[in-house]
């Protein structure tokens, strides 16, 4: 699973800590998410999507769908 969290976070000028606080997780979780090393729960994915005001599909991309 790939994601565009880093990209959208930069657009909204949010730091990793700010995003972590908004979605209620630790900063290291955001680090692992941005590095594509962790797939979040559906609940966390929803919270992240809500912060960016986008749908889950716009942020998280299944690798089968790439290319």
């Amino acid at each position: 699973m790939k994601n565009r969290i880093r990209e959208f976070r930069a657009v909204q000028k949010l730091t990793q800590i700010e995003l972590a606080k908004k979605v209620g997780v630790r900063r290291e979780t955001i680090v692992f998410l941005e590095g594509d090393k962790y797939n979040p729960s559906l609940q966390l994915a929803y919270k992240i999507a809500r912060v960016f005001n986008m749908s889950i599909e716009e942020i998280f991309i299944l690798e089968d769908d790439i290319g």
Partner: protein, 132 residues
């Protein structure tokens, strides 16, 4: 008192008691080199734990949770692996019991190794692609 602060206070108290114990033991007579090395290793691990607890306390003050879904999953997964590898470690300690002077040394090494195995498993799972 917050969870991270309680952890820090308990760790500092334990390290103090541990240092006091070593000091009293030192006064009783000479400590063998191997035991000195083990004591040094335990002390170093305790200091690392104190540093980690302090870091967690600072992060908690910043508003970050002590644990979340990712850190809990790392804990559960590393706990499982640490349990399995500790079983093997105790088995090998039992098979090689003739190398040790007494039961206390075997138990001491076993407890220390269990802690080390737990730490290594946690670090390994965290660093080496958790999802796989």
């Amino acid at each position: 008192m917050s969870k991270a602060r309680v952890e820090l206070v308990v760790l500092v108290a334990l390290l103090f008691l541990y240092s006091l114990g070593i000091f009293l033991y030192w006064n009783l007579g000479e400590i063998p080199i191997l035991m000195l090395f083990l004591y040094w290793l335990i002390g170093t691990l305790a200091l690392i734990s104190i540093f980690m607890a302090y870091k967690k306390m600072k992060e908690e003050k910043e508003g970050q949770p002590v644990d979340d879904e990712f850190t809990l999953q790392i804990k559960y997964k590393s706990g499982y692996y640490a349990y399995i590898y500790s079983l093997y470690m105790w088995l090998f300690l039992f098979l090689g019991r003739s190398f040790f002077q007494d039961i206390e040394t075997i138990v001491g090494i076993g407890v220390l190794m269990s802690g080390l195995i737990g730490y290594v498993c946690k670090m390994y799972i965290k660093r080496h692609n958790y999802e796989k």
